[in-house]
Subunit: 287 residues, 2 copies
Amino acid sequence: MNAATPSVAEGPLALVCGGGSLPLAVADSVAARGRRVLLFPLRGVADPKDYAGREHTFVYLGQLGTLARIARPLGCREIVLIGALTRPSLWSIRPDWLALRLLPRIVMAFRGGDNHLLTNIGKLIEEQGFTLRGAHEVAPEILTPQGPLGRLTPSADDAADIAIGLDYLATAGRFDIGQAVVVAGRNIVAVEAAEGTDQMLARVAALRAEGRIRAPGGVLVKAPKPQQDRRLDLPSIGPDTVDMAEHARLSGIAVIAGGTVVAEPAALAAAADKAGLFVVGVAGPVP
Amino acid sequence: MNAATPSVAEGPLALVCGGGSLPLAVADSVAARGRRVLLFPLRGVADPKDYAGREHTFVYLGQLGTLARIARPLGCREIVLIGALTRPSLWSIRPDWLALRLLPRIVMAFRGGDNHLLTNIGKLIEEQGFTLRGAHEVAPEILTPQGPLGRLTPSADDAADIAIGLDYLATAGRFDIGQAVVVAGRNIVAVEAAEGTDQMLARVAALRAEGRIRAPGGVLVKAPKPQQDRRLDLPSIGPDTVDMAEHARLSGIAVIAGGTVVAEPAALAAAADKAGLFVVGVAGPVP
């Protein structure tokens, strides 16, 4: 399959952009392949400063009509959603006329887990005649490769912690909880659910400060959920993740190679080296 | 088996008391059966005020020698450990001469999970010629019965949340993590690990306040870990748990009937009624 080498014949790609630097990295990667990119940063989520120098149209998550009206006449048939997206409030979706007709189903989508919500948004997009693609399909270089990203590598103790974390995440994945755990001294000391990875790492730092986690080191282990639709929700790490892990006094970070996005890999490797942490892509199941 | 009806012929019972009101409830229950109880509140853990009116000897967790010296001549052969015990620091163990010889193994015990730690302490006690009993064996009335404890009962939505929580806890139990989750709107929104139930409930309250948990209601589901040695670590709830659950705006609390201790059941039922929460003992696996 040649998903990684799209041609101009495929038409422009619509990129619906959440927060962070990842959407721009994907845009640059796709543009470097010679494909036109239409940027639709999400209002209230993406930072306007990041888009100041590029052609773009700010949209609310519910404005499929606006997006379709701009993208269709340009020959666009494919949409990618990428970037940080905190679970939106119904208000910030700002439904347009098209989304309004779909609103009952959008509301229903909120009743399930995050996967459920995103799956429904994906279905709505496809019903409008667009194909939903994964960012990793149009810009495969954003995925973590196997092996260490920086200078450091996991010790045998770290490897034992990583194995426990991967085992747990595979086991608990069917519950649509989080995508990450912290394992230290072969104990799972924190499990991510609604709070997200950053807040979980802040909790580990606090428990450490209180003397309630005594084992030194430890690893943040992050994996895609088994039933995750990777077109909609790719786990990601970046330099911020390294900062949080350093603050929690971990030894390093392990993610599934090919299953996790690294925003700014060079910056992340430099941050990891500076902090004395390893960041490693490990073999594991990719949905 | 007549574990619930000990006779004077069994000799006095040594009760090593952690924090909270539960040790005294157990002591009263055992004494009411006509058996003498020797109280060994843990220094730095149990509240001296609670023991002012009773004969007792404060000990550190590591002072098996002191305990044995007092209890053995009185014909005591059985020990129960009961009450809240935050993972002790090596310092607060204050090893005596006996524990010093055992210190390498105590240190080893700290390298595993909580279960591992407690199992090792249990083994040390048994090697000194004492039999370790569970509080639920000598005072079975401390266990939650099946059915509601207060006036309110779970709705159908609550029952669905409870089922998801029980399923998760059974699945994740082999990892020796926490004993509790919060499920709201059929999503697991928080998983307890090293932080404990109280801090997990505080997190749910904060996520609610930030609008990051949108489903109303929700249930705290608490169960013994599958591999848990109930003589060493019984999950427990009390009026404080109800206060925390109310603060997190939950609908109620579900625990495994016969597998969870209720400190002060009357006070807990009154607190639940006042807060408008249900507290229910449900059928489930008891290790």
